[in-house]
């Protein structure tokens, strides 16, 4: 790379590092599973870097990245819509608008999650750690733990709901509406 490329590279990494969590949350709100979100996010990251030359330095990077992410989600939905059900354009727009308007709150919620995790009973905490460890397949985990697969899914669902409620409490304490 030339020195000028180095500078752009550093600039891109700085901006991407700063905004990647918000973009990921935005993408996650629009596709069904974590695996789907990771696939889309990979495409988003590549496009952002590839088109970074078109990005003006005074521009709002996050807004630009959200725009790219939304285009990628729609493309992903178009490709997957043939074999899987995906939300229609109107609901996707509603979710995208909500996620974009509440970016700061969602970031605060992710931060608050640590406190809530520490309040979980040990057994639930261990279950979350195990289920979300990279490379873990839920069916294999259920087998290893001796749970029916549906039962494990439901336990994790209840823990996630409890964590949402807990983070809402933390955010309320911090003055979020």
């Amino acid at each position: 790379m030339t020195p000028a490329d180095d500078v752009r590279h550093d600039e891109f990494l700085r901006l991407f590092t700063e905004h990647a969590p918000a973009v990921r949350a935005f993408v996650r709100s629009l596709v069904p599973t974590l695996s789907d979100a990771n696939d889309v996010m990979q495409e988003v990251a590549v496009v952002l870097w590839g088109k970074f030359g078109d990005y003006g330095s005074g521009e709002d990077f996050r807004r630009w990245a959200f725009g790219v992410a939304k285009m990628k989600v729609l493309a992903w939905q178009r490709d997957r819509g043939r074999d899987r059900h995906v939300f229609g354009l109107d609901v996707t727009e509603l979710l995208a608008t909500h996620a974009e308007q509440h970016t700061e709150r969602l970031a605060a919620q992710r931060d608050a999650l640590q406190r809530c995790l520490e309040k979980l009973p040990a057994e639930q905490r261990q279950l979350v750690d195990a289920a979300y460890a990279p490379g873990v397949r839920i069916n294999e985990l259920a087998h290893a733990l001796g749970f029916p697969l549906a039962g494990l899914y439901k336990r994790l669902h209840r823990i996630r709901l409890a964590l949402v409620e807990c983070t809402r409490g933390v955010l309320a304490e911090m003055g979020w509406a």
Binding site: R24, P32, A45, W49, V91, V128, Y132, P134, H157, V164
Partner: protein
């Protein structure tokens, strides 16, 4: 099943990827019509995302491998960088604790900088700086210290002191001690453990929570900026004054590393050896273990204060914490010219005056008091001789520039008294601050006196002056060093570059 329970069940299926077309269609309808459920849906997925990211969970030992098939060679460098940032299902380990810098660090047994998580260590000299990337925290550990890195966000401190600086907006670092667990809420704080005695937590910015050690569900107490608390086994916590100067801050490390690389230790030792040959040397008080004997020769004794790491790794300073901590000494000298030199790290003293050196018999001519006032100015007083010129006529001589910017780091202070010239000169970090004319030509009398607590009142009396911080060297000469000599002493002795 209630409608809400049904909606939640649909949401679960959707997030698991097990929604049938019918479930997805019904869920879509609810999301279209119900803004509150839409908000819950987005937050639920956000929690799901956060749980999968490196930000909140303990790291796995398995490193997943990511396929780069989709990326062209052109994108590989940036893709590798992105992978580090994105976290899940990528090429690299998600959580690390990294040895970022060290300053003269020596360990009792081998310490591998490769696999820090799960490693216990005893640091006998120097400083190390660790980066807990998952908590986005930089932690400085100062010798002597015994610690263990429990996981990517947890440090167990058995003894010693650490300073933590957590990036704005982040939280999650934990420091576990024998007396309390400290949970960071996005802040800059420090912890000190005196083995077998007590732990202290000091908060400089932001907030932390403390809880009983080893009990995850124990109730927590909040500790806010500029608060400090001491925890002693079998006793309730005690409020303490914040000691900012006691702890080495992460931003200080860079200058200390540069100082070590520049060979400041050797220069300081050379300067010390040279000064000890000066015929006018009245007393050179160091605080190395063997130097304690030298203090005894000066009629000295250390009371309460304890030896800690000095401004160079492996060297010692004296630390004053509690109100009654002080060092007694008697230079047994009368001098018409006097130079006092010292290296100190000062905490901000709530009562307003940091007592550096006070002789005992104040109210008799020639007695010497040297201190730093709450406005950061030095005062050097020889009893009986006041400021002669306006606008401070009749006051005790004081320096001009406040030292407030120098609190919490090593600073070199000097005061030069010349009876015949009727003046006091003040120096900070080798630079002349001011020369103050005085009224009388009295010799300075250095009999019994003390560093730290000014003990004219009974021990524990709240009105006594105190010294809070560290002192590394206190030197007295019966001649007036000139500006070049003082600057040389500073330049040779500074640990920073």
């Amino acid at each position: 099943m209630t409608p809400r329970a049904l909606h939640l069940e649909w949401m679960r299926h959707y997030a698991e990827g097990t929604a049938t077309p019918e479930i997805a269609r019904q869920l879509e309808s609810v999301l279209r019509d119900d803004p509150e459920f839409r908000a819950l849906f987005v937050e639920y997925l956000n929690v799901d995302l956060a749980l999968s990211s490196s930000a909140v969970l303990n790291p796995p030992t398995i490193v997943p491998v990511f396929s780069w098939r989709k990326l062209s060679v052109r994108f590989l460098p940036i893709a590798a960088a992105i992978a580090l940032i994105l976290g899940s299902t990528w090429l690299f380990p998600r959580a690390q604790v990294r040895l970022q810098r060290s300053v003269g660090a020596e360990f009792v047994s081998s310490f591998s900088s490769r696999e820090l998580i799960g490693q216990s260590a005893e640091l006998k000299a120097g400083l190390i700086e660790l980066n807990f990337n998952q908590a986005e925290a930089v932690v400085v550990i100062e010798a002597p210290a015994r610690f263990r890195i429990e996981d990517a966000k947890t440090l167990r401190l058995e003894s010693g002191r650490v300073t933590a600086h957590v990036r704005d907006g982040r939280q999650g670092l934990r420091v576990l001690t024998p007396h309390t667990d400290v949970h960071d809420l996005g802040t800059r704080f420090a912890v000190e453990v005196r083995e077998g005695q007590r732990s202290e937590v000091h908060v400089f910015d932001g907030k932390v929570e403390t809880s009983a050690p080893g009990e995850a569900s124990a109730p927590r107490d909040l500790l806010a900026a500029n608060q400090a608390r001491r925890f002693v086994a079998e006793r309730g916590p005690e409020e303490r004054d914040v000691r900012s100067g006691t702890f080495v801050q992460p931003e200080e490390i860079k200058a200390l590393v540069a100082g070590m690389k520049a060979g400041q230790v050797g220069r300081a030792l050379d300067a010390e050896a040279s000064l000890k040959k000066d015929a006018a040397l009245v007393g050179w008080v160091g605080f190395e273990t063997q130097s304690g004997e030298a203090q005894m020769e000066l009629g000295g004794a250390v009371i309460g204060a304890r030896r800690v790491q000095g401004r160079f790794p492996g060297q010692q300073a004296l630390e004053f914490v509690d109100r009654d901590d002080h060092a007694r000494l008697d230079f047994n000298a009368v001098a018409r010219e006097l130079t006092l030199l010292t290296w100190v790290r000062l905490d901000r003293v709530p009562e307003g005056i940091s007592s550096i050196y006070h002789t005992d018999n104040w109210n008799t001519p020639g007695q010497v008091h040297w201190m730093v006032l709450n406005n950061g100015q030095m005062r050097f007083a020889v009893f009986g001789s006041r400021v002669s010129d306006a606008p401070q006529r009749g006051e005790w001589p004081e320096s001009r520039e406040p030292l407030l910017g120098e609190l919490g780091r090593w600073v070199h202070l000097a005061a030069v008294y010349e009876a015949d010239r009727r003046q006091v000169s003040f120096y900070a970090n080798g630079r002349l601050d001011s020369v103050v004319a005085t009224t009388e030509s009295l010799p300075a009398v250095l009999g019994p006196g003390q560093i730290g607590n000014w003990n004219r009142k009974p021990m524990g009396d709240a009105s006594t002056r105190r010294f809070s911080g560290r002192m590394d060297e206190f030197i007295v000469l019966s001649r007036a060093l000139n500006a070049d000599e003082i600057n040389h002493h500073f330049e040779a002795g500074t640990p920073y570059r």
